[in-house]
Amino acid sequence: MIFPFSATPAERRLLTEGRLSGPMPWVIAIMMFLTVLAAASGLALANAARNVTGGIANRITVQIVEANPDLREEQTRAAMAALAAMDGVSHVARVPDEEIDRLIEPFLGTAAEEEGIPVPTMIDADLSEALHAQLGEVEADIAAVAPAARVDDHAQFLAPLAGLIRSLSWLALGLVLLIGSALAASVILAARAALNTHRSTIEVLHLMGATDIQIARLFQRRIALDALFGGAVGFLSAVIVLLLLGQRIGAVGSELLGSASLPWTAWLVLFVLPLAGAVLATLVARFTVIGVLRKML
């Protein structure tokens, strides 16, 4: 039984097989390089959006802004106790003073401590999604025991960022689709050119009783090989670029950049791209050739 996409050795001898002919494999290589980069950034951004929203979206920070240090301490403890007592609060932690000092140091310098400028205390709390939905009541409960409390909702200031990241990943997906169509278009052109080059041979084969499928197999095989070669070259170049880029990002050490890393499932998707490209090229070649042949008697 012959796999319908592959020509038999006998059929292969009906046409010359100038492999890696012309610019075709290189065009495919460039397109695959761009596709893999676009897809990688899309996947990394999607992953980042998930990390950003999933990790801290339901987190709130309670600040106790009170000039009197004793009162501040008292209200802080009261607010923490109130939070801990609520249903759906999974984690309550006071942000250590050193960390707060570190956070405000760029703005006020170390002078803040020395000169006794009052620095608010902060409490981080992770809420369940249900509780996060009723943030107003949570705020009221805290305010009842700690009037100086101010509740900051992380989701609120993360929402625009997460939205931006999400639209960027959609943009990347759009790029992948655009490049895919450009790839298909160039395969159509290449298949037509190959058909024209071999037109007289095809006519003779036709008059000998060769079927459209037989002739299409000869072309799609060649184009599939070109596409596999080009796809492999483009994929490997893109992977090298991605690995180098990953090293650079690691060196920066930023948490936000770091969250844009590629999980192994994303690598799997990237690896499938050159194979999908080869299958796409093969199918496009097949349908183009059969379409042209159908116009002959």
Binding site: P9, L14, M208, R294
Partner: protein, 244 residues
């Protein structure tokens, strides 16, 4: 009684919007017959043969081949019919990048014959047309007469039921023409129906019992009506089947 392999009825062919290249062509070909198609250049010989080897559909009229209406035949059934026909094109149409051997093997490969099973028939055919020592030569390195013999070998390798040859002696010297015609006669005696277009008058006398068809400006001359309605009594066909 001789059977009919091909039949034309009031066939007309028009390329584009011009005048008809073929008009009201009617004839009937007996299985196993030998037919010459003659006529001045531009009379429409090649056009008529194209209709016969299914490279063209007529603008009007009826064409039956192998007992089937081929005018309305679905496109995907054409390959099966074409494999039963051998064609020697006026311009050979050898595949330039294939060797002599591979050119002759083409029809077998198209038909899906196993590689192991096509070597000996192709070599036999090469020997028969006297090209055994040129098996690996490309068409461009062959002389005109050698190319013509490759084209003929390719047309008959798959033992077609009907062989259609368009000016098969157009480019060769009289001696080679005689040899080729001898070859055709031998094939015909093996049972192949022959249709040979030529304007070489000398060829016509070389085959006994051959029938003549003359085209003039797209019309078939048939004063006696014998082409349209061939006599059907036993003994009139070229090789009546025993017991017919």
């Amino acid at each position: 009684m001789a059977t009919t392999i091909a039949q034309f009825e009031n066939v007309g062919l028009r390329y584009g919007t011009g005048a008809e290249t073929l008009s009201d062509v009617s004839f009937s070909l007996d299985t196993g017959g030998f037919y010459f198609l003659t006529g001045p250049s531009g009379a429409g010989k090649t056009s008529l043969l194209k209709l016969l080897y299914l490279s063209q559909r007529p603008s009007r009229g009826l064409i039956r081949l192998f007992d089937t209406d081929v005018v309305t035949l679905a496109r995907d059934r054409l390959p099966g019919f074409r494999r039963r026909i051998g064609v020697v094109f006026q311009d050979f149409r050898l595949v330039p990048h294939l060797s002599t051997f591979d050119n002759i093997a083409l029809p077998l490969r198209v038909a899906g014959v196993e590689e192991s099973e096509l070597v000996s028939p192709v070599n036999e055919m090469l020997a028969w047309v006297g090209l055994a020592d040129r098996a690996s030569a490309r068409p461009a390195t062959l002389s005109g007469g050698e190319q013509q013999r490759v084209a003929i070998a390719r047309a008959v390798i798959h033992r077609p039921e009907i062989l259609i040859a368009d000016e098969p002696t157009g480019n060769v010297d009289p001696e080679m023409a005689a040899r080729l015609l001898h070859l055709f006669d031998a094939l015909n005696k093996l049972g192949t129906t022959m249709v040979v277009a030529t304007h070489d008058i000398h060829l016509l006398s070389r085959v006994s019992n051959a029938q003549m068809m003359r085209l003039d400006s797209g019309r078939l001359a048939d004063p006696t009506g014998l082409l349209r309605n061939p006599p059907r009594e036993a003994g009139r066909g070229r090789r009546p089947k025993p017991g017919a």
